[in-house]
């Protein structure tokens, strides 16, 4: 059963490269954009999955980190674009259009935010946790809307994609390659993490925190670490997403986005390594295919999602690959 999931995972990743390559050779750049979107939102979902799938921390506020990542990109790039330093005191900090630097900043700041939000939110659990994470994301959302310096609700357009040494990021396929490599590296990290002592203890704390305490491990610290890692990955995805669109806006902080990330994770299979990627792929494909069919396409989307929950228990991966490492 485990094997089947591994084969499936391989197939999914292959598919995720094959489709844009095919699109590239047949001159369909938009398909590449879609594949990039799958990779980026899948990456955000992978981040969430560490908290949600492995750690059992249902965060309805991951948009906070996604948005922070996005704004890290937006703020740095817009300053670089206008040749205005971010601030001059106590030391001069310039904007930048270099992706690696932006990523680093996105990871650091979303990690810090996750540390703060996590430290406070993890005092609660269950539905209270869902809501308090939502609360923090909503605070940032309203802040971003009414904060005029960086565009408020209008957001910020960054006309030219940021640069990556040695690559032409404006070429869709090259930008896709960047996101895909990052996704794969994160997946590899995630796979190691799940089997590591940390991952094991985290999964144990999800199921029975009292037991974990009794063996002398502090679940709070485990969860906080998981939440921070999760936030950092989602933040990185946010920076990439902003670069994909060359645009950031407060909707990146919106609860719809948090909700969609959760949908990706469940749709693919909670706690499955590639669950979020599969979920994102299905969701985005549906969105674009159904959107062309009818003005009322969301009805069909709703019915399909409902079908998945009711019939395909444990997500699409569970249906194809069997329960295996299921968490029922």
């Amino acid at each position: 059963m485990m094997r089947r999931e591994q084969i499936l995972n391989g197939a999914v990743l292959l598919g995720l490269i094959a489709v844009p390559l095919w699109a590239w050779s047949s001159g369909e750049p938009f398909i590449i954009t879609l594949a990039t979107k799958v990779a980026v939102l899948g990456l955000a979902g992978v981040g969430l999955n560490i908290a949600l799938g492995t750690g059992g921390l249902v965060s309805l506020g991951h948009a906070a980190f996604f948005g922070i990542g996005g704004y890290a990109m937006g703020i740095l790039a817009s300053h670089a674009q206008q040749y205005v330093p971010l601030f001059e005191w106590p030391l001069l900090v310039e904007g930048t259009k270099s992706m690696p630097v932006i990523w680093l900043v996105a990871i650091v700041f979303s990690g810090l935010a996750a540390l703060l939000i996590g430290a406070l939110s993890l005092r609660t659990s269950g539905v209270y946790f869902i809501m308090i994470t939502l609360a923090f994301a909503q605070m940032l959302y309203y802040f971003a809307i009414s904060w005029p310096a960086y565009g408020g609700e209008d957001g910020m357009a960054i006309y030219v994609r940021n640069s990556f040494p040695g690559l032409n990021t404006l070429d869709p396929i090259q930008f896709f390659a960047i996101t895909f490599v990052i996704l794969c590296m994160t997946l590899w990290f995630n796979a190691r993490l799940v089997r590591s002592p940390f991952g094991t203890a985290l999964a144990a704390a999800r199921q029975n925190a009292e037991r974990v305490e009794a063996v002398g491990i502090d679940p709070y610290k485990l969860r906080l670490a998981a939440f921070v890692i999760s936030g950092m990955i989602t933040g990185l995805a946010g920076a990439l997403f902003a670069d994909l669109n060359r645009f950031v806006s407060p909707t990146m902080f919106g609860w719809h986005l948090s909700g969609e990330l959760i949908v990706f994770v469940i749709l693919g299979g909670t706690g499955r390594l590639l669950g979020p990627v599969v979920g994102a792929a299905i969701f985005i494909t549906l969105e674009h295919v159904l959107g062309g069919i009818s003005e009322y396409w969301q009805i069909f989307l709703g019915v399909l999602l409902l079908g998945v929950v009711l019939v395909a228990r444990g997500g699409v991966i569970a249906v194809i690959a069997g329960k295996g490492v299921a968490h029922d």
Binding site: R123, G259, Q298, I299, L306
Partner: protein, 305 residues
């Protein structure tokens, strides 16, 4: 700011709170009692408002419209419960979130398909409209007083139902162990259908009542849904008292924050900056409130510990 205005704003805050409670009541019932996260609660609210608007448009009767709202939402609730929700009780919260999220899509776009994309008309009947004068010469809309009355009635009724009746005990027993309460001879499925329908009817009633002073349109349920969740989480899930206290707290915080913060900032800031900054913080205020409450009381004000 005069004292009279302050009193009036406090009254507005309380009134807004009761209105929130009306929205949150059905949600607490279903969520606290049956352990189900029902994101589609807002959709049932919308169904109630649309049913009321349609019936009011056809018959001109406000009371019939309210009855229609109750009925339509309850029927929608029964159908949804039997087709979907029933299969979700023993699932974890995540599956419930996804399934009811799907229901939102179906309800919203379905409603738009039937009623079109434009807001509908639903208004206060003449015998309830206009202001009356309260002591202290405060002009206050009669209809809002009616909402306060209905809200308090619903609160009392629910409280008695849950804590004092055998039905309430059984429902709560089912929340703790469904299989066991069934093995003791209680038909928990029917019970749950009834509760869900009741919760839906309350949502529908809230939608219709509130719809008369707000706009009846597709998507009207979403902001309400979030607010209602905020309310019941602050109050403590499963507690009717908590939901009431939570609503009042949120109502007061929001209303007073909106009016007082800009004034407060105005004392040390330039006026137009104060209004924007004040308004910005005011819009975050209830989330700040919720976070603070949960940090100090991780299961809400009246939640079980």
């Amino acid at each position: 700011m005069t004292i009279i205005l302050l009193i009036e704003q406090v009254l507005n805050g309380l009134q807004f709170g009761v209105m929130l409670f009306l929205m949150a009541a059905g949600l607490t019932l279903v969520f606290g009692v049956m352990g189900l996260i029902n994101l589609a609660h807002g959709s049932l609210y919308m169904v109630g408002a649309f049913a009321a608007a349609a019936v009011a448009g056809a018959t001109g009767s406000f009371l019939l419209a309210m009855a229609a709202a109750l009925g339509a939402a309850a029927i929608a609730g029964v159908i949804v419960e039997m087709l979907v929700i029933r299969r979700l009780y023993d699932r974890d919260h995540l599956d419930q979130v996804l399934a009811t999220f799907a229901l939102i899509l179906i309800f919203s776009e379905g409603t738009r398909w039937i009623f079109g994309s434009f807001p509908l008309y639903l208004n206060i009947p003449p015998y309830l409209s206009g202001p009356i004068t309260l002591p202290g010469d405060i002009q206050y809309p009669l209809y809002r007083l009616v909402i306060i009355g209905v809200g308090l009635l619903v609160a009392a009724g629910l409280f008695l139902l849950i804590s004092r009746t055998r039905l309430g005990i059984r429902i709560r027993a089912g929340e703790s162990d469904r299989e066991m309460i069934a093995a003791l001879g209680v038909n928990i499925s029917v019970l749950y259908t009834i509760v869900f329908a009741l919760g839906a009817a309350l949502a529908g009633l809230a939608g219709a009542l509130v719809g008369a002073i707000q706009s009846v349109q597709v998507g009207m349920g979403e902001p309400v849904l979030i607010l209602a969740f905020v309310v019941i989480v602050i109050g403590g899930i499963g507690s009717i008292t908590g939901a009431l206290v939570g609503s009042l707290l949120v109502g007061l915080t929001d209303t007073l924050g909106r009016t007082l913060l800009p004034v407060l900032f105005g004392t040390f800031m330039e006026a137009s900056a104060a209004t924007t900054v004040g308004a910005a913080i005011a819009s975050m205020l209830i989330y700040i409130l919720m976070a603070v409450v949960l940090i100090f009381r991780p299961t809400g004000l009246y939640g079980a510990r």
